[in-house]
Amino acid sequence: MYWKEIFRQARDIGIGSLPIIAIVSTFIGGVSAVQFAYQFRSISLVPMWWIGSIVRKGMILELAPTVSALLLAGKVGSNIASELGTMRISEQIDAYEIMGVNTPAYLIGPKIAASVFVVPMLVVIAVVLGIIGGWGAGILGGFFSTTEYFRGVQDGFDGYDVFIMLVKAALFGFTLSSISCYKGFTVQGGAVEIGKSSTQAVVVSSIVMMIVNFFVAFLLL
């Protein structure tokens, strides 16, 4: 039952969030490429193939994990808090407890486990799409050739960057799901309180994730 619930949550969080992550990360990659091309044009000494390298590095180390996590805090975090809050108010959690179900383990555990597992996967997808977005924007704008861009993408690639990205993503997944679960699980009152807890889940998890982001960068870079 617990595994089934973990997979259900993973499907909901992963597939449910894929479209927004894909759209946003593609455009972030594209905008990054355009902005760097705009600046590099005025410094003629910098070769345009560097853009590929900068977009890759920026996406892996910061943009993909952070932007994805903030998007997920808004989408998944509020969803988790309002779902658990509604279950609390409508006595569904009481119904589980009466049956003898360990409600934190059954309702919260799978959500956290699924988030820790799925958010890094979404971030990897975001990185790939961001790099593709950068390439598309550069080609459309005529800033560089495909060969130049992918030379930059491959140049100086360091696996440690990916490690940091995955650590960040897993920590973000844990942070946003655990805070949202707490906010939803402990709701008391009615519809107004569910709305408030949902908002608090997004705000608090976004702030905590930025603090976590700083410490990961500070300690690992």
Binding site: E91, Q92, M99
Partner: protein, 252 residues
């Protein structure tokens, strides 16, 4: 049999239960009645372990619930079925999944055995062929019946019903009452029903406990309750002047 002794419960500075004692016999429908805010729901939630009483004893056939840890309580909780006021059906699960949830969670039955048990319980509450529907597609009365089916699927020894008739029309309310009574007798369960519906009291009240301001005010049978002529219970039963006059002019 369930026995409660001197149950007290405070919420912050407010004393909701001020020491309630009673016994609830098996094979009978035991009703807790009282005005809104009298402590009915808190009593019921203390009895099933959803609230911890500040003091007092709750005993299930001699087993003291208040002294048990989470693991020990699991055993008793699997002997408890509960119908919630708002039914508390799991929105994301179909009727069949709702009813079979305890079987999936706590038994090693085969798929075939589970299917048979679910169909039996749904048939018992007169809801055949609703297996694939979701709670959102059901009427209030049907939701209550699914709630009862889920409550009895594990063959419980104790059945708790919190306001089973709330939000139902009088005819459907009688159907639900009759169902609760039939199931109680059929499975010799100890049934405790929270209600403020006098039709339920007269229909299924083998034993009636009247709470007033957190205290046990009166205890007796449905026959005895009709002999009450004054006081808080009289005001509760005969809430309107019309009913009061009717009672005063009656011959017994």
């Amino acid at each position: 049999m369930i026995e409660i002794k001197d149950i007290k419960k405070n919420f912050n500075a407010q004393q909701v239960l001020k020491g309630i004692s009673s016994t609830f016999d098996s094979g009978k429908c035991n009703l807790i009645i009282g005005k809104s805010g009298s402590g009915k729901t808190v009593t019921l939630k203390c009895m099933v372990g959803l609230f911890e009483p500040d003091s007092g004893i709750i005993s299930y056939d001699g087993r003291n619930l208040t002294e048990m840890d989470f693991t020990q309580r699991k055993t008793i909780r699997r002997e408890i079925g509960m119908l919630f006021q708002g039914t508390a059906l799991f929105d994301s699960l179909s009727v069949e999944e709702n009813v079979r949830f305890p079987l999936d969670m706590f038994t090693n039955q085969t798929e075939e055995e589970k299917r048979e048990r679910v169909n039996f319980c749904l048939g018992r509450v007169n809801l055949p062929n609703t297996n694939k529907k979701f709670p959102g597609e059901l009427s209030g009365g049907m939701k209550k019946r699914v709630g009862i089916a889920r409550a009895i699927v594990m063959n419980p020894k104790y059945l708790f019903c919190d306001e089973p008739n709330s939000g139902l029309d009088p005819k459907t309310a009688i159907v639900i009452d009759d169902l609760i009574r039939e199931i109680t007798i059929e499975y010799n369960m100890t049934t405790v029903v929270n209600t403020h519906d006098m039709n339920s009291v007269m229909g299924i009240g083998d034993k009636v406990l009247f709470l007033h301001e957190g205290l046990k005010y009166w205890e007796g049978t449905k026959e005895e309750i009709m002999k009450i002529t004054d006081g808080e219970l009289f005001d509760f039963i005969f809430a309107s002047d019309f009913l009061k006059d009717l009672r005063r002019n009656a011959k017994y």
